[in-house]
Symmetry: D2
Subunit: 129 residues, 4 copies
Amino acid sequence: MNSRRYFNCTDRDRAAFEAGIKLASLYHQYIGAPVNPDSVDHFEKAMEKGMMAQPYMKKASVAVDRQVLNGSLTSYGYCSLNERMLKAAVTIVYEGIEVRASLGWMEDLQYPLMRIEHIRNIVSGDATE
Amino acid sequence: MNSRRYFNCTDRDRAAFEAGIKLASLYHQYIGAPVNPDSVDHFEKAMEKGMMAQPYMKKASVAVDRQVLNGSLTSYGYCSLNERMLKAAVTIVYEGIEVRASLGWMEDLQYPLMRIEHIRNIVSGDATE
Amino acid sequence: MNSRRYFNCTDRDRAAFEAGIKLASLYHQYIGAPVNPDSVDHFEKAMEKGMMAQPYMKKASVAVDRQVLNGSLTSYGYCSLNERMLKAAVTIVYEGIEVRASLGWMEDLQYPLMRIEHIRNIVSGDATE
Amino acid sequence: MNSRRYFNCTDRDRAAFEAGIKLASLYHQYIGAPVNPDSVDHFEKAMEKGMMAQPYMKKASVAVDRQVLNGSLTSYGYCSLNERMLKAAVTIVYEGIEVRASLGWMEDLQYPLMRIEHIRNIVSGDATE
């Protein structure tokens, strides 16, 4: 990785850092985008593919909560993508460290929380948490 | 249209106004989004569908200039969607007034110009410019 | 105006079109941005100045509804700028045509409506609606 | 921290993750925003204050490269904020772990790199890298 010399941290630190980057890029790029029941399937796939275009990505899934979407529709039959409906999970691998992280609305925090679900060493096919 | 009472202008004024809204929403929502040669087809369609979700839209086409895209790819094989590669055309109809407007990079202006290509009355199937 | 040759419409059409561009650029650029009671004054001014940087702008005012902001704060003391709290008014002048347009949440439509408040000829200091 | 139970990682992992979130939120929120020499000072401060509104932030500085800005101005005297002109540095502290991370265009990578500059334990006033 030719960017490695710019970092002053462990590979594990960087793996966690990259996971944070991916989730925040999704949120801040797409919140506010117009969405309706017809466009939502396609939009989810486009967001996933946009995430997969980024470095170290192994898996991405993005889902718009249909119940929240339907409850948010304006009198024009669409709405802006908001923090209560956007859900995502990403798996990134950097130098043998795998991080799974997710984004979703937490009712108790009233907050769209980004969190690390696991981080582990997968070097030589072996997973150690 | 239940929003009509909030406007103090002609139907034609509003038709032009709505066309401006659509193009600027596209630009400011998606500029900066990650894109690569694999994701770009899907992303174009998602942008089109997002535009079609909005009021008074009759047609939308969005294209990412492949030559500019390929020339903008970073060492990671993707780039951020930028003003030189995003092209779009929309047709909106409001109360019998049709507006066709487009967005595209203009070399002479060094500017991503949004412009009206035509505006005409299409009431009763009759088009008068 | 060196962009004029690209347009196929009246000056009044274009004035309305430009007003739509300005409001949608504000909305889709900044919805989702982090904001709290400490940062909001500064953020409003920055959004105004960003609007004033654009062509044909004569006046811009942007306000974040403090009551909605306070009611939207998460357990971390900030929130994402949303469609219910963003209000703006712009005045643009293009070739002697003045348009005043605004953005704001409409309870009855459950929609962040962008609308034209007036459009008039101000050529030679004379205003005719 | 009431969100802690949602994480399955070390405090250090989370500190790195939070740093990534902050830089990506800046980039994907503001790229594309209109900026000119008059508005840029105010815009920088607003971006900083928006970052400081977010959790675990200790310091933020955001700078728009004036040389790149001036070279990017369109015939209308402004431009869209782009990846070559946006620079930022953040310091976050989570549970006694301090991370300094930055964003900036790297000529050799042709890429707006987000990177960790240091990560260290600052518990009890003591800094250990």
